[in-house]
Assembly symmetry: C2
């Protein structure tokens, strides 16, 4: 069994070369965040992930969370780990300083969150949901709600949830039926919710549920949904806990993976209605929810990165230890010397590093959007974040499935045995393309709200940047960079053609566009990830030429960029062809011919 | 929960149009096999699969096989099902009539086996291993062994196993350590074996283990391995059971899937040596084992088809029932009307049907190789079987992972909940790319023994056929067939280029070839599967034009061929590029740079 070691060197390299760390550290709100401090934080977090969270990952998977009579016991060790997680300040670290967090750049907290995702995905979800709820309350809650709830939530004494889904309302929130009746300064909420991550557990004193429900006078559809805060225990003004609210966990799901993360079915209002407080304006619940959902989508994309990294490390450790057959490659006595094993490892590595680059790039743009001195830059960065959010979510998780599966394959027969641990990454990763909006939902968001609505302006501007970078690389003296540049230019052109096709057909043939939405999302991820991979290769080559940095690491970075170009970027033309030529057959059959 | 319904119509269509059923039925050994009889057998088998095996699939997964003190209890209902499976003559059906089987064409038994794989993969493995052992004994065993063992094994009263793997010897059988000492007319076998499918259970009176071990004078490596038959209970000459042999099941694995199929660790010779009988010549064990292994590889490829079909049916049933959102497609009130759901279903369907065509084509060639009146045709067919075996095994199982995963995705959040049943297909399918030789092993077999050794003659001849068919389609009046033909011609050209590249580099840069072996196998599967998909589309178009057959089914077949061309064949150029241009980066890093 391998031990997780956070790839701090690669994280720092990516934060600097792709995330724009140095510039972010000069922004007014982050002047105290020095690169040295960032490095120290990452090393601390790496040590915590390896020492506390990683050892609980497999035992948590085996034991799982257990439901009994409305209560949920977390897996052994999880309660203590959560306490130390809070005591060490990790729980609320990404939150604003105003509420007890550390107010660090999103880029920095993203790298730290990746470590929690890698070392223990199930555990990390409790923090992710809590931070999402904190953000929704901080942005949309009344001052009274903020005062009462934010401090204990940021401290991790209370945790948070998102209650969206109902049995008949999954991706389609318009079908939501939960109700809220006004009663004095609060509401009485009733309804049944499913798939509530960490909806019930024993790690915290209180659980703060954010619940989507309809007011009596609400219009139909998504424009009639409001957001309510329903704590498990009512909170007194002095911060102490009051009586138990009228809500209950009726069961938890038996899932393929993330066993230690309880997925609760919740029942609100069995005894007259759970007391709830309106967050934001009536009927504006969806907008409030999207505040937390957008951030959560980026973080689920980051789960794709984290699980992929962990699967890669696990497979690499096995490949460097297992002796079998006569390896063809010199210098390798183990199966890492078999070319096909090497191919799988290189694919895993190249994709994972490109996915990390994409996630960190997006995080860096969030910091720019929040604090860049130039308003135009802030607007531009915000548009990029909007465009990239579905790509990070959809593409990184989609890749993670293949990477986790390849990680099992590297193990051969041992990979299929649960004790080996490789299978857990596939089981855990498998939820990431589904929750917080399936890949199909992300792709529709991408081609609709993010592309067609603005005539493709943001993506076109990005493509001009990519094309300029590709041509600079083509002109570079080294053959490796020139090859990468050539592959990138061709792939970017394919993305542009697919974009033009979608823009040309979005009005007249929306269903044909929708049929190609997921392939288009994959194309966008492949190309933008390839752009960042190429930029990392270029930076590595420059540092190598300058004689700075670790030569072995930098040479590997350059070769990894070549691998991405030769094995991943080459998929761009095929994806373009599917987008532009695949809709007819996709939509050809009547349902009874399926 | 959907119920499995064997796709008898598609099976028969594929057997006739691709497998060459009519011609096989005229071969001397199969003159009694009329098309009507075949159809009746398929309907009987379909009814048995749906009525008996399918209902045990999920319960078997939940309960699993259980080990206790050396004994293994099969999951509830499995013992009764095995008994009825034998009583109904299914267990030994594919075996030769001489030993109690029905001596049907391989093509016919392949279609029937697909139904067992679809309805209950774990259960089907017991038969598959038994039939493999039957074949090895029938081909290589002495008359005495045949007389004593074949009849009860074909009847299913006794089952069979393959004991190859040892902890240090998985893909690398050269590292095998198990020993056999001569003692009179038999041997004493000792050693530890792992990953023995159905190595111990309570469904049959006896278990006949075929065990690879070394004789005292054996040369090192794979040329010093012999094959022994070690029954769990010794068999008296009168067919009754004698005393228990010196072999024991020490544990069974806790696996990701196929829970109801016990994967045993076996210990031979703890008390002086298990009595074993030599099969074939000393030191020729590997050749004997390959007799069963080649057939097993085809059957594991068929598992890819079977699980994919089942995953498709499950996803289709959910998509036709689940209401969510406003479907964009006319005539669909359910999520099947969402273009992206339709895309996933069409991808699953098009791939599965092409995989079925490939498996049946190969089965048909086995029948030609065995019984065609013309010796040259037999030789040609045998060469095709050799070439295609690793492709069927590698490509169909590789596809099955993606198809089973997409099946979960169609279900959204419900797909991640085990009760839904969709996750089991992914868990079960995940072993198929590993056992009976990983995809990497298949790919090395393909580019080495099957390609380089004969200068690519068989594949080149096949490519000429494919190219001729593609150009005939290009000239056809209908635009659908012409488009399919164009895509096929381009893809076949890509396969030819990749083939030429491999042949040109196999001597000087074998490790570069090995680095592209799996992408090459995928390319071969994509193109050959696409050829068969195109031929099915052509046959459907001809029948439509002639006004014969079910118009809805035939139109769907044609559209499915178009979908394969537009979504799968388009991958060929990318795979060629990876084969011909990807090795450099794959092999670039030193192991400490990974």
């Amino acid at each position: 069994m391998s031990t997780y070691a956070a790839p701090v060197r690669d994280m720092l390299f990516t934060m600097k070369e792709i995330g724009g760390l140095d510039a972010i550290c000069t922004q007014p709100s982050h002047e105290e965040t020095t690169p040295d401090l960032v490095e120290a934080i990452l090393h601390e977090a790496a040590s915590y992930a390896a020492g506390v969270l990683d050892p609980l990952n497999r035992s948590g998977d085996q034991q799982g969370a257990r439901w009994h009579d409305g209560a949920v016991s977390s897996a052994d060790g999880f309660g203590d780990a959560w306490k130390s997680f809070c005591d060490n300040g990790w729980a609320g670290m990404p939150a604003a300083a105003e509420w007890g967090g550390q107010g660090l750049p999103v880029l920095v907290s993203t790298a730290v969150l990746e470590m929690w995702k890698s070392s223990n995905l199930a555990f990390s979800l409790c923090q992710m949901l809590t931070l999402g709820a904190v953000e929704a309350i901080a942005h949309h809650g009344s001052d009274a709600l903020k005062r009462r709830f934010l401090e204990p939530m940021v401290a991790g004494r209370w945790t948070g949830t998102m209650n969206l889904t109902e049995p008949q309302a999954g991706s389609d929130l318009a079908a939501l039926r939960s109700r809220a009746m006004p009663e004095g300064d609060h509401y009485r909420v009733s309804g049944n919710k499913i798939f509530i991550t960490w909806g019930e557990h024993d790690m915290a004193e209180n659980i703060v549920h954010l619940v989507l429900a309809r007011l009596p006078d609400a219009p139909a559809g998504v424009k009639g949904i409001s957001l309510f805060l329903c704590p498990k225990f009512l909170a007194n003004d002095d911060g102490t806990l009051g009586e138990r609210n009228d809500l209950a966990c009726t069961s938890i799901e038996h899932k393929l993976g993330i066993h230690a993360s309880p997925t609760a079915s919740m029942c609100f209002g069995e005894r007259g209605g759970a007391i709830g407080y309106l967050i934001g304006e009536p009927h504006q619940g969806l907008a409030c929810m999207f505040t937390m959902m957008n951030h959560a989508r980026l973080n689920v994309g980051l789960e794709g990165v984290g699980v992929s990294e962990r699967a890669y490390q696990h497979a690499r450790a096995y490949a460097l230890e297992r002796v079998q057959g006569r390896p063809a490659l010199a210098g390798s006595g183990t199966i890492a010397g078999h070319p096909d094993v090497r191919r799988m490892l290189m694919d895993m590595k190249a994709r994972t590093e490109a996915m990390r680059a994409l996630a960190y790039f997006c995080a860096g743009q969030m910091d720019r959007a929040a604090g860049h001195p130039d308003a135009q830059e802030r607007t531009r960065a915000q548009a990029l974040v909007g465009l990239l959010t579905p790509v990070v979510k959809g593409w990184c998780t989609d890749n993670a499935l293949g990477i986790a599966s390849d990680g099992m394959q590297v193990h051969g027969g041992m990979g299929y045995v649960e004790e080996t641990g490789a299978a857990q990454y596939l089981r855990d990763a498998r939820i990431t393309t589904i929750y917080e909006g399936t890949t199909g939902i992300q792709a529709n968001d991408l081609i609709g709200r993010k592309l067609a609505r603005e005539g493709g302006a943001t993506l076109k501007a990005l493509l001009r940047r990519i094309d300029a970078d590709a041509h600079r690389l083509i002109e570079s003296p080294g053959p490796a960079l020139a090859q990468i540049g050539g592959a990138l230019a061709a792939a970017a052109h394919a993305l542009e053609q697919a974009t033009d096709w979608l823009l040309a057909h979005s009005d007249a043939q929306p269903q044909h566009c929708a049929a190609g939405a997921v392939p288009f999302l994959r194309l966008a991820g492949t190309v933008i990830g390839g752009w960042l991979s190429a930029r990392m290769a270029e930076a590595a080559a420059a540092q190598l030429a300058a004689g700075t940095g670790d030569a072995g690491f930098l040479a590997a970075k350059l070769a990894t960029g070549s691998h991405y170009a030769a094995h991943v970027l080459v998929q761009a033309l095929m994806l373009r062809d599917i987008v532009t030529g695949g809709a007819g057959s996709t939509l050809a059959l009547a349902v009874d011919q399926l």
